[in-house]
Amino acid sequence: MKSSALKATLDANEAVAAVAYALTETLAIYPITPSSPMAEFCDEWSAKNQPNLWGSVPRMVEMQSEGGAAGALHGMLQAGTMSTSFTASQGLLLMIPNLYKITGELLPFVLHVTARTLATHALSIFGDHSDVMACRQIGMAMLASASVQEAQDMAAIAHAATLRTRVPFMHFFDGFRTSHEVGKIDLIGHDILRALVKEEDVAAFRERALTPDAPVLRGSAQNPDTFFQAREACNPFYALVPGAVEELLAEFARLTGRHYRLFDYEGNPQAEQVIVMIGSGAETATECSAWLNAHDKKTGVLKVRLFRPWSLQHFIAALPETVRAIAVLDRTKEPGAIGEPLYQDVVTALAEARSLGLLPRSCDPVVVGGRFGLSSKEFTPAMAKAVFEELETEAPRNHFTIGIMDDVSGTSLDWDREWDIEPDDVTRAVFYGLGSDGTVGANKNTIKIIGEETDNFAQGYFVYDSKKAGAVTISHLRFGPRPIRSTYLVSHANFVGVHQWEFFDRLDILDVAAPGAVVLINAVHGPDNLWAALPVEAQQTIVEHKLRVFTIDGYKVARETGMGARVNTIMQTCFFAISGVLPREEAIAHIKKAIEKTYARKGPEVVEKNFAAVDATLASLHEVTVPLSADGLRHRPPPVPEEAPEFVKRITGVMLAGQGDLLPVSAFPVDGSWPLGTTQWEKRNIAQEIPVWDENLCIQCNKCVLVCPHAAIRARYYETDVLASAPATFKSVTFRSPTLKGLKYTVQVAPEDCTGCTLCVQVCPAKDKSNPRHKALDMAPQLPLRDAERVNYRFFLGLPEPDRKLIKAEVKATQFYQPLIEYSGACAGCGETPYLKLLTQLFGDRLFIANATGCSSIYGGNLPTTPYTTNRDGRGPAWSNSLFEDNAEYGLGLRVAVDKHHESAVELLQLLAPQVGEVLVTELLGGYAGDEATLEAQRARVMTLREKLRDVQDITARRLELIADYLVKKSVWIVGGDGWAYDIGFGGLDHVLWSGRDVNILVMDTEVYSNTGGQSSKATPMGAAAKFAVSGKALPKKDLALYAMMNGTAYVARVAFGSKDGQTVQALTEAEQFPGVSLVVAYSHCIAHGYGMQFGLEQQKLAVDSGYWPLFRFNPLRDQPGDERLKLDSPAPKVPLEKYTANEMRYRIVERSQPERARALQEAAQQQVREHYKLYERLRDVMKVSDVDTEETI
């Protein structure tokens, strides 16, 4: 029986989720890249009441961490519901303790893992097998998939096999390369699933469930007398697994016509060189092997599918007896091991087979191991060829690497980077776009059109840079008559779409074009002027490779058809028109159909505008006449300027140019250290408009400086005489100050770093009285201002910084100081970064930041560039990220170490008092405080101390030199988002709150997991929709600040800089000064709230005015009679909650999809807000320091 297969074009996450959902009753999940989409799909289907295979709707619970999810799973399984989960990387590691328990109890379930790199010297969201290989000892069966089709198919096999064998299954496939690859596959229908999953297996599972109606005890503690034997009791179940999986695969082949084996060998049956590997790389190696075999080589690839339990017999049976050399490729690294895990298994397997006589004597291959593909590093046919060629040598190198250049340990094999074996009948297209222009979405549509409307196979893979504002996207598409097995990026494209003209100046985008390729360029220049506008390097490539060039002014068409900045539909139409993948008319009909499907729910207006854009496109598309030679005078500018530091030029610049793959091992620091202050060399020019300052209107409040998320607008006051060397257009005005007279003042924009978010203009209170539309800051097009303002900004940066001793805890004063986080990759209008910037302005030169994983660790530390920077003395934030879950503990550890250093320094200082002088020692011991005057004096004393120590010939002096800087007070801040503080890191946060140590905690509360795409956290407010709370959250937000206040010994504040910036400054200052634990919960508007970020400050105001976000500061040390320990900094609610919520899509979604529920939630939320505020009022009264007189009267 072969079921008639329905084809679909989708990614592996969706395909696997669909199978898992059909075969599951309960799910416990926690979001983690790249597995999150699987859980999100299931949540969506569950919310829509879509049934599983047994006609019942699976129910889902989002937990506080993967550890929590695994705990919940254990419970679900123990009580007998078929359960599943999805995870990756660190998340998988957090599950390990429970996975041991679940496995030890033979509770059948499937964990689908998008295999992802484990954080070591750095975090990486990308794919390799370091996570799954860290689980191979647990005892779970491990089944691997290498492609989208396989991922779906093996998901089904895993679910059926776990029920059949009782052994829990880990089904894994490569993060991103497979999980996010869009491909055309044959879908598995419910009929096939029904045939695979035996009802009696389900019944047997149910019967074993723990129940008080027929109780047994599980989870006993056993002793030396019994544990060992009992542990061995599971062996027969493992022995049965390979056979059971083999049977299921045979059944599956009968049902679908798709044949799989436990170890799949593909290649020459008499192969002499064989690569053994797991995962998507095997597809590429197979492609390469087939080509080599067609060119008289004898090669093959042995793909490991069932990695655990390892079946020796099946492995040996799959290996050609003729093999002379085997390369085992591991996508992981185990420093210090004799070899990586798969290599060790293969070596062991061959040795065992030989001793068991399973191998003929003639078969005695050389086995070498190699590492490839860490963190989604490309693995291409050329690399596979290099490995095969190495195997042909007399003594192939062992423990090699392929895909990098290792000039330190010499492990790497070389490969021919130009070698390409992709057949001509496969269309290969690469599109360069921006996240905001819709390129990826349009390409996903294109793949669907071609995949579903033609007989062609299609593949799409999407690469993004690490910026949140102005993100560059690169789409790699393939279409062809056969299933596409090329699991690597397109390198010889016959179509290149350049959707943003600026890319020509930033990247060598045409290096991906094959000779004779077509290039489509979105540009304003028109067909006649385009050539002259291109940099000469691009011209050369076009001429040399005989590229055909087409152009369209996509923005003009978009503007004229009401599409705004979204050129996606226009460029997609051009692609179809030029590429000829489909007949033009047919393609346009399909595009329109896709538009209707995509936008129907978004309204007819949007559909009509898209239609109009399609119709207007072809008339504006022109071919450019390419001259015979490249005659341009303009060169592509270097990625970083000449004056950049050596490291930036040598390494950062290469990464910025998209050439990071070329950097050798020796280029990198060995421990993950990275220099600060490198964003300043990356001028991205992403703002269409930037603010222009009117010095005569400005009231010099510095609010614009405070709210800027990217530190791209700054203020300074200075002596008049420095203006002598000012550039011609540099603006300046008399500084308004009651105390400092005769000075000048300037507000200056960083034109190339501004993202154009307009927050500074929104906050500007200074209006022109006769033309109120004009303010002291107005937006104006960037391009005409760029050159002059660049010069002005450079001059501005050279202005002297005011004396730090003048700093006061109020907005204006703080904003004259250098921000030590600048030009980060955060979203335009980000609501988090202004807090961090303020933190660095206040304490940046003595600041430790422990940063939880999340948005703030991505814009704070995702390479290629680093936004944290140093001041003129070279001091700046010591920023680091450990993990997501351990941040509070990590920060506490930093504090303990700092305190210990200080203690040791004091001890050593006292020992050295006779040599360095008692007076200096006394002063140094008395100078450990955080105020700027003391800091300055203490730093001077430390310098004196160092000078004196130089003359002391004693090991004590040497020891003190190493830690003398700890005599100056440091400020430790533990920083992260709500996902960390409210959920995954709450246990640690709680512990730190009760530690009494001098640490400060800043929670930038966006009320969802922002970085992974807006999943609900315990900070999500009642009535708001988020992923995993699609119908609107039913419970109110957890009040973390209130909880911390109940501790009674910590300083606690709640702030919202958009509502009351002065209170934010006050709170951060007080928190730092507080001699114990401090917690500041900061309202952070976010794109996940669903509105334009230019309204972020307005929304902050409304959040506070509605009473939703009451501002307060709680200081348990206030002890004067009548003092309010809890100071409420915002008045009782004065606008209805709805006024705040109605502006945000996260609330409107509920209103629009379930109006009655929305109303009920809204009313409940309004009620809760009122009561919440009253509670605070009562607390304020209760916690007031008693008045002595009153007490006496009582």
């Binding site: 999100e40 969506e44 969201i125 990826v440 978004k602 949007v606 795409g1013 899509m1145 979604i1149 109006p1155």
Partner: protein, 342 residues
Amino acid sequence: MDLTTEYLGLKLKNPLLPGASPLSDDLDTVRRLEDAGAPAIIMRSLFEEQLIMEEQATLEDVNLHEFSSPEAASYLPNIADFAFGSDEYLKQIAQIKQVTEIPVIASLNGTTLGGWVHHARLIQEAGADALELNTYFLPTNLLRTSKDIEDQIIEVFRAVRNKVDIPVAVKLSPYFSALPHFASQLQRVGADGLVLFNRFYQPDLDPESLDIKITLQLSDPYELRLRLRWLAILSAHLHLDLSATGGVHTGLDVIKAIMAGATTVQMVSALLRHGPEHFRQVLEFLGHWMSEHEYENLEQLRGSLNLKTGPDPSAFERANYMKMLLSWRKMTHGFGIPPQQS
């Protein structure tokens, strides 16, 4: 007393209508209006801008960030059955139809051609019995002539007309240089009725914040005068239905409007101020007044004081201006503030 009226082809049991307003948003209010004698419900307007902006805002807020990060394909949950304001509006039409037995006149407000016109069809499909097309247009462009504007309104009307089979009335503003001519054009291209007039909410200024304040002001009984004049003029020349709206607060106002030529009379501010039950009182007054004054049906009243049949047609024309000015001078003795109307 026979109060029956035919308006836009609908047989109504009386001529008094609750006008387009938020009164139609709440089903309970709608029921109370029906109980108080409302012969039909006119729904609040669905705005072209609202339709377009909502679609675009959704697109901007949600789609702008889609597929721009490797870690997040989107930032908000994907809701398949996300409804727009218009969906709710359509649902409300259907619900009103379900809970009442009276006809529903929907209202669509727009001035340019575009995809929003499609909503007229959806409104009909949702069960509306007639449609009021509100052409609230405020010219601010020096280059646009009055003819341009009239042509545009005609175009929009035609586009809407082509989308539906139900009767369509056009709600106009009073600011036309040649209203009779324009009204006759609308009649020619198939308008089933005219609604006179739209009230322009005039923005206020805030000298403190240097800002413009937008507040909702309920109508004033004096506003009825403008309607009476144009009802009297237009009813004398046109044969399409006319509906008065703006400044109708009392039963006497209703009688005046009908005498000036209105087919139906719409009331909003008084209902918002006094509640749906006010409707019954006005209606009762109308009945009593007519029987006291020995009228048997509305036809006897209708247009009896219009330009054609009224005793002094010049009162509606330019000569009246002079008379009024003179009387005003007499009232105020030539200076100062006129005595307040009681």
